[in-house]
Every structure is written in C-alpha cells, then in structure tokens.
C-alpha cells in the first residue's frame, strides 16, 4: 500500500528541510524525499557566510531574519549548527572598488541593512589582521558565519523529532499529478502520494519543474571553495571585498574558509567536477592580500558548491500557477542565510497562515504554458 501524506517536499536542502519541518510542526503528515542525504549538496558545502554585504538588496530583510534564526538554532532547530555572530567588513583596495563599495553600501542600507562606511583605521580596529593597504571600508554589525557541514545533522535530528518521514537516497524520477494530489515516482514505482507538493531542488529545480510541464530556466553557478588547515587566529571578522569576489572567515576550530564565487567546472548533471587552477590562484591571492597572515596557512581542501539563479536573480517561493497544491522554493542568492526564514514563510502559506513577509511569486518566471495534460508527461 502506497503511503499517503498531506505534503511531500522533494529536495532536502535547507529550503526544503525547513519547509518540511514547519509543515510537520503545523500538524501535517509530511514526507521529505532526496536523491541523497539531508543537506549534502549546496546546503552542506557552502561557505557559511552570514553577511549582508553580499546579500542582494531585495533580500536583505529575509537575510537579517535568517541570520537570527541560525544564531538561535539551538532553540528552534534543537542543535547548535555552529552559527556565530561576527563583525562584517567589506573593503576596497582601489578607487574603483571604493566607488562600488559606497554605491552598494548605500543601496543595501536603503533596503534595511545596518551598513555604515568606516575609515580604514576603524576597519583595522575591527579586524587587526587586515591589510593596511585598504582605502575604504564598510562595516555591518549583523554578520556572522556558520559551519555548513553541520546542517545535515542538525536538520536530521529536528526532522526525525517532528515526525517527518524521511526518504533519503531515493532519486525521484517524476511526479504524476491528478486525483487531487501527487504521486512521487522513484525506482520505477510509486514511492508515495501526497495532497500537496513542494519542489525544493536548488540547481535541479529546472528539471523538477519540468516534471510538471513547466519550463523555467535555472542557471547553475559552480562556486569554488577553499579551506585551510587549522591556523593560529589570523582574523575575527567576516570579510569581503566591494566587488563580492571574496568571502573570508576563520572558524572556532582555526580553519579559514576562502570563497567568493570564483567559478569551477560542473553542471547539474555531473555536479561539481573540478576547480580551475587559475581561478583558484586568483581567489586565494585576493584572500592573502586581504589577510596577509594567511601566508603561513596550508590549503587542506578545495571543493565546489552548486548555486542556482533565476533569470531575474530573485528566488521562486510560492504556489505554482495552474497546478493546485504544487509549490516551489529556491534559487535565492545567499539562500543559505535566508533559508530557515524562507522555508518558514512558505510553510505558513501552505498551512493557511499569513506569511510575515511576501513570497516570491514563481508565476513571473513562467511563460503561459500550452494546455497539456499533466498525465501525459513522461
């Protein structure tokens, strides 16, 4: 007998797992399905940067709330996932970067981020490890960082406690809609049925939406990440550069994580394939230039994180047009920061509560579809 649920969430990253968690806490019988384990893709391998300096202006209120939720994880998630508050700095080494810094800080401030321009001297007080060559800096008190690799454990505990039925290592092959609900197909059979569907597949959302006959292009970014082995304390801030091409932080265990969205090779089919050595060198040079103390570090590991982006670079969160009971969540820049909040907003919507903030209607990205029978889609 196929199991039936009130809702099924496909994709167990932070977006999907948070939605599933709140739906279950809201009284629904919920299934969470993933082709792998919980938070083992972008949600478990991203840089863990909680910063408003790199958040898209339109998402700042969401990121601010998301950051609070991460810091408060022991209370609502049941486990400390390693989120720590830290002062955030964005710096400029050239006049062009200074102009960019001032422009961007103003735009983000207008969107509600408490970002202020500070003198280089003040920036060096905040971050004594900083290169003295900076010519301008912006400061944000509401930043921080988190060890992304712990999110899988934290969410798994919470989901199990909330009674969510977990279907891990279950690659979904398609979704049949009709009969007042959805049938999830995996391994050549119907895995389960549910009245409501949430697609939360990050860079795989384009394919997932295709299951429902919807064509929405989703761009896949292949971000390179670098972590050093443990090191004496060389920095205490979350540090970036005006152009957004660097993110740096040192965790409590002494390792320093270098990110900034420098691109490697990969795609949604193959995942992250490999780093591009020249991009690696560029990224690490920026890091060493910003924090000269990094010169004594050794690089321990390099990996890739797949990030999704829509045509207008804003998320899709909300009901899918024309398909009763189907929803989507994902493609948020800085989505890891905002994820715990965005998942809660979508869960509130599905539970019939008024979300605290507006969702991001996916209909804007979906051209009118030819009338097709969903059952006929392979």
């Amino acid at each position: 007998m196929t199991q039936r649920f009130d809702a099924v969430v496909v994709g167990a990253g932070v977006m999907g797992a948070t939605t599933a968690l709140h739906l279950a806490r809201g009284g629904m019988r919920v299934a969470l399905v993933d082709r792998g384990a919980i938070c083992r893709e972008a949600s478990g391998v991203n840089a863990g940067t909680l910063t408003l300096h790199m958040t898209r202006a339109a998402l700042i209120p969401y990121a601010m709330r998301g950051r609070e939720l991460w810091l408060d994880a022991p209370r609502w998630l049941g486990m400390d996932a390693g989120a720590r508050a830290a002062p955030g700095l964005s710096v400029a080494f050239t006049p062009a970067e200074r102009d960019m810094l001032e422009h961007r800080a103003a735009a983000r401030r207008q969107a509600g981020a408490p970002i202020e321009l500070v003198t280089p001297a003040r920036a060096r007080q905040v971050e004594p490890g900083l290169n003295g060559d900076i010519i301008a800096a912006a400061f944000c008190a509401l930043d921080g960082h988190i060890t992304a690799y712990l999110t899988g454990l934290a969410y798994r505990r919470a989901l199990v406690a909330a009674g969510v039925a977990l279907f891990e290592n279950a690659p979904v092959e398609g979704v049949d809609s009709g009969d007042g609900g959805f049938a999830i197909r995996a391994a050549g059979a119907t895995l389960l049925r549910a009245r409501r569907l949430v697609l939360a597949g990050g860079v795989w959302l384009e394919r997932m939406l295709g299951w429902l006959g919807l064509r929405v292009p989703v761009k896949c970014l292949i971000n390179q990440l670098v972590v050093t082995e443990r090191l004496r304390p060389v920095m205490r801030s979350v540090l970036g550069i005006a152009n957004g091409l660097l993110s740096l932080k040192q965790f409590g265990n002494g390792t320093v994580l270098i990110g900034g969205g420098w691109q490697g090779i990969g795609d949604p089919d193959r995942g992250g394939v490999e780093a591009i050595p020249d991009n690696l060198i560029g990224n690490v040079r920026l890091a060493r230039h910003a924090i000269p103390g990094l010169a004594e570090a050794r690089v321990a590991r390099i990996w890739l994180d797949l990030e999704s982006e829509t045509a207008d670079a804003l998320p899709m969160i909300g009901p899918l047009p024309g398909i009763e009971g189907a929803h989507v969540i994902g493609c948020a820049h800085s989505g890891f920061t905002s994820g715990p909040y965005m998942g809660q907003l979508l869960a509130d919507f599905i539970l019939g509560r008024e979300p605290e903030r507006p969702l991001f209607d996916p209909a804007r990205l979906i051209p009118p579809q030819p009338a097709a029978s969903l059952e006929s889609i392979p």
């Binding site: 082995e229 443990r230 090191l231 004496r232 409590g252 265990n253 002494g254 004594e296 570090a297 050794r298």
Partner: protein, 92 residues
C-alpha cells in the same frame, strides 16, 4: 655496506639546540636526537610525533623557518629553526 658520510649540522627545536646529520630528514634527525613529541593534537591536546614518515599522515607537521611542513619531508639543514606544530585547541 655503503660508507657513512654524514655531515653534522646544528638546528633548534623550540629554542633547544640539537645536532643531526645533513641528509637525514628533519623527522629522523629529531628521532635520533630523542625528540619524538613534535606537537599536540588540536581537539584532545594529545602528544603526537612522526608516524608514517612518507608525507601522508601529517602527524609530524612542524614549523620550519616559519613554514608549516611535515618534518619527514624536509631535509635537515644547518641552522634550521624548528618549532612545535601545535596550533592550540579549538574554541567553540
């Protein structure tokens, strides 16, 4: 037997003077000098020393003239300034 042609050089470990044979690796020189405890581990703070001697396990990592290197992969040189590879223990 091949002939012995060791040239004695001096070096320091955590400011203590030692002598060893140029041509040996730093790890071997330290072992022969009776210095086997090269660092403390980061989580338990437990003593560690050379283990695989092939550059794989990273247990013998020390600071050599300011650079972090596995002692088993570093040829001993005159005047080398070596420090324990201990980083300090993790903070939450």
């Amino acid at each position: 037997m091949s002939s012995s042609r060791a040239l004695l050089v001096s070096f320091s470990f955590d400011d203590e003077p030692y002598e060893g044979s140029a041509g040996d690796s730093l790890a071997v020189a330290l072992m022969l000098a009776g210095r086997r405890h090269l660092r403390d581990s980061s989580r338990q703070g437990a003593p560690r020393g050379a283990f695989c001697l092939m550059g794989s396990c990273q247990e013998c990592v020390v600071w050599v003239d300011g650079e972090r290197r596995p002692a088993c992969q570093v040829p001993l040189r005159q005047g080398m300034v070596v420090r324990s590879g201990t980083i300090g223990t993790d903070t939450p």
